[in-house]
């Protein structure tokens, strides 16, 4: 890693400058993370009197636990659904806005602000709209003969949290897609148009492949978002229910740690989550070094 060609020389100053950042990191990041690693090998009895070192027992129990396997599945469906929904809607908006000349900025303004809404608030907003007794959506769905109730139907609850989580993320994806579209050279599209390619064909054979680096980057970012930043959406609305149908991993760590007080299991879950973040971060950084392009 480089520095400037010429640097200042001081024996203590660089350490002093780094100190605040490194101290905060050590106390609130590295130390708790290593604690989680350590606790994941321990098990307390129910009275908290004895603590045993159990090696990988917490982990093997987790992977034998149907609730945990269910949570893995739920997380998979949830993050895939959120990523796909918000990215496809955002791409549609970006392609449409990119055609505009005069109205581009005003549409952008109308589409960026949901980024500022907290996930918990997004959850409450959609929860209200889908409220089975007074919400507008169940009322309209009843007109189509569908009886919406996210308090009893796991599928309904999952759709609700996916919509709430995806809604908030549209603005982020939209901004990146729009930036990507604007960097595609106009001459390529004109050349294809002269060769007689239709608008539809031009999009799928030229524009979409050229967007692939951004699409890939956004996919990773969205999966990270859906897996780790959506705690608020779940906690403020379904609380993992009904019958575990929306109990995503992050929410389960919290439940097992703070509500069920099963520290060993919660720590083991933390360790697994950390491993997932590490993998996703490495993928993301690899992408930055070497851009995907076909």
């Amino acid at each position: 890693m480089q520095t400037k060609r010429m640097t200042f020389s001081s024996r203590w100053l660089p350490y002093a400058l780094l100190a605040p950042q490194v101290i905060v990191t050590l106390i609130f990041f590295i130390w708790p993370a290593s604690q989680a690693l350590y606790q994941s090998f321990l098990r307390q009895d129910i009275f908290g009197l004895r603590t045993d070192f159990v090696w990988f027992d917490n982990f093997s129990r987790l992977f034998a636990d149907p609730l945990y396997l269910n949570s893995l599945k739920v997380t998979f469906v949830f993050s895939l659904g959120t990523t796909f929904l918000s990215m496809s809607v955002a791409l549609l908006f970006a392609v449409m806005v990119n055609r505009m000349i005069r109205s581009r900025d005003s549409y952008t303004t109308f589409l960026v602000w949901p980024y500022a809404v907290a996930p918990a608030i997004a959850g409450v907003l959609w929860w209200f709209i889908f409220n089975p007794s007074i919400g507008i959506m169940p009322y309209m769905l009843k007109g189509f003969g569908y009886d919406w109730n996210h308090r009893s139907s796991g599928t309904d609850a999952m759709i609700l949290v996916i919509i709430a989580a995806a809604w908030k993320q549209i603005s982020y994806n939209f901004l990146f897609f729009l930036a990507g579209l604007q960097s595609i050279p106009q001459s390529l599209i004109e050349a294809a148009a002269i060769d007689g390619a239709s608008r539809f064909k031009r999009f799928w054979t030229i524009v979409f492949p050229l967007l692939s680096p951004i699409t890939f980057f956004l996919m990773v970012v969205n999966i990270v978002y859906a897996m780790f930043d959506t705690f608020g959406v779940i906690h403020a609305t379904t609380e993992g229910g009904p019958a575990q149908a929306t109990n995503i991993l992050v929410y389960k760590v919290y439940r097992d740690g703070f509500v069920n007080l099963n520290l060993g299991s919660s720590a083991a879950q933390s360790v697994i989550l950390m491993a997932i973040v590490v993998v996703l971060t490495v993928i993301q950084f690899r992408y930055i070094e070497r851009r995907v392009n076909y």
Binding site: K4, F8, T25, L92, R99, I136, A193, G232, F258
Partner: protein, 282 residues
């Protein structure tokens, strides 16, 4: 120029207007709901047109809250959120400016090692290590305090990376000139580097402020004293606390007040926001 298709443009506008309407709809519904008297929500479907009770509802949530359900007045919570967001933002910006400066402008043993320690924070979101982090903060006696709300969240690898990247693009000659004129490192930092980075600082400020304001899980865990409740987490208590059916008109008034400040920040600083977002993440 590619052919200009009038019907295509009309169709694009139609899609966008519909899209914008769907995106705005939840907030519109919240604003409408916050203007109705409580009785509206007992009778059937929620209203789609504003009602007459706006002033009363907002006055109630700001000054009284719902004391029976254990929710304090919103006024205090808004202030707490503001203090927390500002503390996180300013804290993040200052420690990452300093460490980026150290990493770019000095050569010293263990430089790479420190860089990796900072990098690690990127991989450890609060959500994945909540129990042990909570224990650390409890052991330090920082529960129910602004220090506990903000300090554990101020380490930021993203900001450090961005400033490092920016410092690398600052011409070498500036530093040489400063040294020839006899300026020490801190003087160079304060009088040359900081003024040059002001746009980057402002762009990150917008992103970090929103990040800080929207914190949810962390305040939920470490505040048990209503004195320190922040507004985003307070909403959850209003929805689930007390009665089986929430008092929607008050909940929605709170939701509007909680979402408004960060939305205003984005709308008024849209250019800086877009710059901050697209440049930090790529």
């Amino acid at each position: 120029m590619v052919e200009n298709n009038r019907w295509g443009n009309f169709f694009a506008h139609l899609v966008l207007i519909l899209g914008v309407a769907i995106v705005i709809f939840p907030v519109y519904v919240a604003i409408v709901a916050s203007t109705h008297p409580p009785g509206t929500f007992i009778r059937g479907v929620m209203p789609l047109l504003p009602g007459p009770n706006a002033l009363e509802n907002y006055k109630t949530v700001i000054t009284e809250g719902r004391s029976r359900a254990g929710t304090p007045p919103i006024g205090g919570m808004l202030w707490n959120s503001f203090v927390m967001a500002m503390a996180i933002t300013i804290g993040k910006l200052s420690i990452s400016l300093l460490s980026a400066f150290a990493i770019v402008y000095f050569r010293f043993p263990f430089r790479i090692f420190f860089f990796w320690i900072i990098f690690l924070t990127l991989m450890l979101p609060v959500e994945v290590r909540i129990v042990p982090t909570f224990q650390v903060v409890a052991d330090l006696g920082m529960l129910n305090s602004f220090a506990g709300l903000s300090i554990p969240l101020i380490a930021s690898a993203t900001a450090t990376f961005l400033f490092r990247q920016f410092f690398m693009t600052v011409p070498e000659e500036l530093m040489e000139a400063a040294r020839v004129d006899g300026a020490g490192p801190m003087k160079f930092f304060k009088d040359i580097l900081l003024p040059l980075s002001i746009t980057n600082i402002a762009a990150l400020f917008v992103i970090m402020f929103i990040y800080g304001w929207n914190q949810y899980l962390w305040p939920l865990l470490i505040t048990t004293d209503p004195e320190y409740y922040t507004i985003v987490m307070g909403i959850q208590r209003m929805v689930t606390g007390g009665d089986s059916e929430p008092l929607w008109h008050l909940v929605m008034a709170t939701v509007v007040l909680a979402a408004l400040p960060p939305i205003l920040v984005i709308l008024f600083m849209q250019r800086l926001f877009v710059k901050g977002l697209t440049e930090t993440e790529k």
